[in-house]
Amino acid sequence: MCQVGEDYGEPAPREPPPAPRPSREHKCVKCKEAQPVVVIRAGDAFCRDCFKAFYIHKFRAMLGKNRLIFPGEKVLLAWSGGPSSSSMVRQVLEGLSQDSAKRLRFVPGVIFIDEGAACGRSPEERAKTLAEVKPILQAIGFPWHVVALEEVFSLPPSVLRCSSQEPAAPDGAYKAAVDNFLQQQHVLGAGGGPGLAHGEEPLPQPRAQSAWDLQSLVRPPAAAQTEALSHLFCSVRTLTAKEELLQTLRVHLILHVARAHGYSKVMTGDSCTRLAIKLMTNLALGRGAFLAWDTGFSDERHGDVVVVRPMREHTLKEVAFYNRLFSVPSVFTPAVDTKAPEKASIHRLMEAFILRLQIQFPSTVSTVYRTSEKLAKAPRDGPAAGTCGPRCLLCMCTLDVDTADSATAFGVQTASHLSQIQSPTPLTETGTPQGLCCSPGGASRREDPQACIAEQLCYGCRVNMKDLPSLEPLPPYILAEAQLRTQRAWVLAELRDCLIEDSEDEVGQS
């Protein structure tokens, strides 16, 4: 007892003893031998080799745990040139070159989107970036797609349609697919294929090489489209909306390329840090209903093409160190918010907020990130609604807005919108869905595309689109699809009206 008391009294000075800070005197926490070079996870110091093993393992474990990517499946790696996606491409490269048991078995391709026009860069600057991108893609050796963001002006409206395909496959299917694949490999292996990573895909490989000439394949975007794109982005009133619009268009373009070339998965390089920031940003943007899709490991909203985020357990610090220590090449391209002050957009503000908090409380990012992991994807009408309910025109999530509920923020918004469009001409009453069904022709509808598009957006996208003074400069595929949906809704409503009348007649007669 005495001893306990003494023990208690002695080492408890007024201030708690400072947590043992990792320093150069300590050894790596893993191997206990080598000198540490990087501190991760709130105070664990790793040496170079242990850090590499830890980093690679995390990537493999993320893919292994989720069992989403089937052997032989075509996977499109969305490479922005930035650190995380560059690191992701390196991980895939390493995974493909490993010995048979641990080898990644999917067939990768890389897409790079040149967003220069949205960021107001000159053709010379963009050409310079492409010249940096070229040798890196060449060294990677995967089939690649370099696409200018201007291509969104030639997208078909079908990009915005969700192909309802059963995306989820049960565990058994995965195992069967692996076995099947291994058997095939066995047969192939008997034939003696030397290059493991490349020998497997005889089709895309020569195509990529012969088409390597930047001049021939990466045709410079038409000047008119560049003009249109920069006009669109210049017209957006806030940096927040600009960033969101860019993300939206980028996803549509990637989706289109993926579908056109038969990729059924898209991998993005979102890191844990980025996802934590995105989670908070999206909450602030009114996208709370879609957090699980926007930040989860897999995003099945598009049906046939599933977006996966294998880097979601790597922090940006880990990524930066890995890229530095193991010389992963990346290309720095200015973004829309480069050099912008901290309060320029919600994205920036949230980034500064999280990172500052992270300095004081080193588990901030991981705590926020863990929250994102726990979010379930069931839409509010139950899991069955995961099929095809009405989708947001832009982000393609199941619509979260309730037209009947005028007490919500959304209701207020619609009301204000209606009052705005009602005042100038009486014709534009047709802005409401009800108005539309009763309107005699399509003329008035075409006059107010703004309202007809707003109806087809989720709450977050509606708020965002308010910062576009006119929807006219949006790429044609969006406008066309919006009109198509309005017409479809109109026809459906007409039909429904007829049906109701019929049944009433029957009731009256009987």
């Binding site: 800070r21 990792p22 320093s23 150069r24 540490p36 070079v37 990087v38 501190v39 110091a45 650190p83 840090t273 980025r274 920031i277 940006l316 610090k317 990524v319 930066a320 160190f321 530095r324 220590l325 720095f332 200015p334 973004a335 829309v336 918010d337 480069t338 050099k339 912008a340 002050p341 901290e342 994205h347 920036r348 980034e351 500064a352 990172l355 500052r356 992270q358 300095i359």
Partner: protein
């Protein structure tokens, strides 16, 4: 009195944009009373190298959150952060992990 030091200061991840786009700077720190540590170095960088918007690089007496510091390719957290005393021929690397650099 500390002797003048020759150190390599490097910027990456977009941080170089605030330094005229120049990534590597071989600099000579003049001799001064106190020894050169990272804290002093930041003040010196702000005065001599930084071309614009200092608030995007330095906040308070440290770097802005989101900018990593590597001293001779090792995490500065292992070396005492701001209190690390620079040696001749050290290399100090600042990597921005912020969106857009």
């Amino acid at each position: 009195m500390a002797a003048p030091l020759s150190v390599e200061v490097e910027f990456g991840g977009g941080a170089e944009l605030l330094f005229d786009g120049v990534k590597k700077h071989q600099v000579t720190l003049p001799g001064q009373e106190e020894p050169w540590d990272i804290r002093n170095l930041l003040v010196w960088i702000k005065k001599n190298l930084l071309k614009e918007r200092p608030e995007l690089f330095i906040q308070g007496d440290s770097v802005r959150p989101g900018i990593l510091v590597l001293i001779n390719d090792a995490d500065w957290e292992l070396l005492g952060e701001l209190d690390y005393q620079l040696q001749d021929q050290d290399s100090v690397l600042f990597i921005s992990t912020l969106h857009g650099g």
